[in-house]
Subunit: 199 residues, 2 copies
């Protein structure tokens, strides 16, 4: 038992499986927390517990929230008729940090993928079409990653929305080929949004 | 409020201050945990709470443990008369992973530093000298980092132990100049320990 106690070893093992961390960084984080335990560790435990208990998906858009309806869907100022479709909550957060978009979102939770057998139903694309019609949206911005799967999904959604008459746009070229939104700086993502083009 | 809820934002802020993490990696970790919340997040909260409550320093060697005396100090097979002095618990863990040392440890918790006004008393060096005499240790291995402060501290301790008659050794050259133990691979650290030299 090299690392102090069974609980410490279990904590390191659990942390080393988090994205971006490995065994070495997990050990450093855990040692850091043990040294600061009076403050940070108890606070971290309490926040993790609270977030675990209260986080859920917004029933309307799929954003993560601690209520039935997220703050963006609940804000009447954001009823602009524009709905921005993203793959992931991380992309929604990235767009919000850019402060360029004033409408609402729709989180798919992934992309179509023949390989992983993810079809339109798995991503709730029929529900998205219903929502667009129910809310009489004027514009749908497909802010999907510039990857093959992201662009395949964008074309599929554009086709599915064809009969609704809504304007469908995509982010401007400015998102690098193969680029993932969450890795772009906030200025690039805002510029690409402002220069969005009709698909 | 871009990131879901006040608690989520606080959790991201706290995580982004951990060593090796920044805002982007903290956001990815928190999103990952929220997606897995049924399992990993509650488990992580519980382990953090348990480790925060039960972790303390071994009264004998300064290792982190959940008892008064750590498993290494409590193990009679490790009463070899050899005491390995390290700067930090991370270094003790690194040596244990190498499986080359069968004695006991002494964790200084830092190095002498004129700049940071850290003197021998702050590192408990008088207590170390007492312990060496009380336990009638036969060899003290100074496994300090190959940095200026680490080597200054090693020479200071070697001088302080001069009158006790104990054999004082250091790790073999093999630890690169300026290298920090916790960044070495386990094989290098074991080889350097086996080839340790008398100071
Ligand atoms: Zn929402
Ligand atoms: Zn101990």
């Amino acid at each position: 038992m090299a690392e102090g106690s069974d609980d410490i070893q279990a904590l390191i093992a659990l942390m080393s499986r988090l994205p971006g961390l490995g065994p070495r960084s997990a050990r450093r984080v855990v040692l850091h927390l043990i040294r600061k335990r009076a403050g940070q560790m108890a606070q971290l435990a309490q926040l993790l517990d609270s977030v675990a208990q209260h986080s859920r998906e917004c029933m309307t858009c799929g954003n993560i929230t601690d209520r039935d309806t997220c703050a963006i869907c609940a804000d009447p100022d954001r009823a602009t008729g524009e709905i921005c479709v993203v793959e992931d909550v991380a992309d929604l957060w990235a767009l919000e940090r850019g402060h360029a978009f004033k409408g609402r979102y729709h989180v798919l939770g992934g992309t179509l993928s023949a390989l992983d057998e993810i079809g339109p139903e798995d991503l709730g694309i029929p529900n998205l079409v219903d929502r667009i019609q129910r809310e009489r949206a004027t514009e749908v911005i497909l802010a999907l990653n510039a990857t093959v799967d992201g662009q395949t999904t964008a074309h599929y959604i554009a086709d599915a929305l064809d009969s609704t008459g809504v304007t469908v746009t995509g982010l401007a070229q400015g998102v690098p080929i193969g680029g993932e939104l969450d890795y772009l700086d906030d200025g690039t993502i805002s510029a690409a949004l402002r220069a969005r083009r009709r698909l």
